[in-house]
Symmetry: C2
Subunit: 341 residues, 2 copies
Amino acid sequence: MKIAIDAMGGDFAPEQNIVGVKLALDEFPDVSSFQLVGDQKIIEEELKKHALSTNNSRIEIIHASQTITMEDSASAAIRKKKDSSMSVAAKLISDKKANAVVSAGHTGAAVSATVVFNRMLPGIDRPGIASVFPAPKGPFIMLDIGANVDCKPLHLAQYAILGEAYSRIMLNIKNPRVGILSNGSEAGKGNELTRESSRILQSLPIRFLGNVEGADLFGNKVDVVLCDGFLGNVVLKCCESLAKAISGILKENLKKSPVRMAGALLSKNAFLELKELTDHQEYGGAPLLGIDGICIIAHGSSSAKAIKNAIRVATEMIKNKYNETVIDKISKIDWKKGLEC
Amino acid sequence: MKIAIDAMGGDFAPEQNIVGVKLALDEFPDVSSFQLVGDQKIIEEELKKHALSTNNSRIEIIHASQTITMEDSASAAIRKKKDSSMSVAAKLISDKKANAVVSAGHTGAAVSATVVFNRMLPGIDRPGIASVFPAPKGPFIMLDIGANVDCKPLHLAQYAILGEAYSRIMLNIKNPRVGILSNGSEAGKGNELTRESSRILQSLPIRFLGNVEGADLFGNKVDVVLCDGFLGNVVLKCCESLAKAISGILKENLKKSPVRMAGALLSKNAFLELKELTDHQEYGGAPLLGIDGICIIAHGSSSAKAIKNAIRVATEMIKNKYNETVIDKISKIDWKKGLEC
């Protein structure tokens, strides 16, 4: 297995990316090569700083002279910065020089680069980013969370196949329940997109349970939540924002008296466990599904641990033959059946 | 001021609704009449149970033989149950027999009944439900949270006027900042609806700050958040669901050892303060804005306190001349200017 890492992408790149690879070197012995993509000199210095030899046979530096910043617009960055670390990394997959790419850089640019330089899986029109959400009775996934802002019903139906396979293969859910995010659980509820999509979804060989409303999102009623990239992105970020606000307010409240502070100290581990459960660094980034190749998009603020976990997800998708499973399942689907409903 | 109360709507109706009115009788002396709409016999029994005289000059029972249940579809309920408590209450406003209506029943039916029996304010095409959200530095409002699922750009622009006035008049924000909920804060981000809406919003005489992304929702960057009713409903309910999940997990974690339990006990007030801040019962229901009349939609699970607070919001909207302010502001807007942009 060969994994390309966008060494320059992310708020704490290149340092945390390199330290993440250092952790991965020990933890994932079946990865034969970690391809660090970015400015050769900077990467070499960073390797040295962290006592990694440039002669290590499992580390390869692939020079890329440019870096995409958060100020760049996604499509312009790919068009204009032809030698960016993200573009060069994405090309490595299409050239079959790497099996997977991991990036903590500009999400839009990562999606654009991957789509520009790689084919889609047969039967898939648009890629979707899947995010793993923690919930009281175990995690669920939601897609798309930002790759495809204006979705068509057929895209959501394709996301159902992509998400169902991910839930089954990567999260070990036997017969994943799939739902579409809507403004009510009753069948008639929804907007034009969800109502039209539901008609197609009912015809697919998956366990489609219909609408899932916001109130049930963290209620473990389904394992795969479908939505367009606009809705998914807003919901994901609102949830992150709310969790942060709640913990911020609680912290302030706990500081208001010495008694409360003592209480907080005694119950500290309860808070730490909650933090761990909701820590995005544990989940190892969000896979960009639907492309012929593996691409893991890590959080912009990824630490070394997050980068290492993103590499873990990439290796598992390869080992568990995620794309092959999707190709097999999708080849058996008669899309016209759903579209005629 | 005369306030009509849908006595039969809500999970804990009619009891909590009647007790809510009992609290309101004392607290809001300027309300000359509380019109309890619903089954006369049931209401009379409930009044008796709570030591309220049917001869009280400030209480009036308006008989309605039917009740809309959660199983009814919104539009069918209004069409078929012509003598439902919600429909009868909504008619009281259009007949100028009441200034406002409060209901904790079926939200869709409350919207339908209010729209069917009342005119819209001049210049407003669709009503929108505004919800007050707590945030660390003070509350903000979001609309629409469910009245109008498939919105047009012009509807969002009208919501801006409705929401801005609400924030100014009801939440005492001097010069409210208005934003549109999107998948990124940069100007180019968004879907077709938000991009088109933004063009119109820029031409309005309000403090429009452009996109507000999910990550900033609870960051007090704007005072009024605009979105279509589908997105708003999903986000509102996801937030409620997440808050519940977090508190559920934390509770479980705190029960895991006697030390943690002792700690939780000491810091109990910090949790209570958080609960109070996020308690929907304090906010008194969500106003249905844009109609010629006042309609407050209380949470389905409203307690007496929530009903009383919903009545408070209704009285304040009347006293503060909310609708008059909107009519004045909207009459001065040249909508074509925005549409030509």
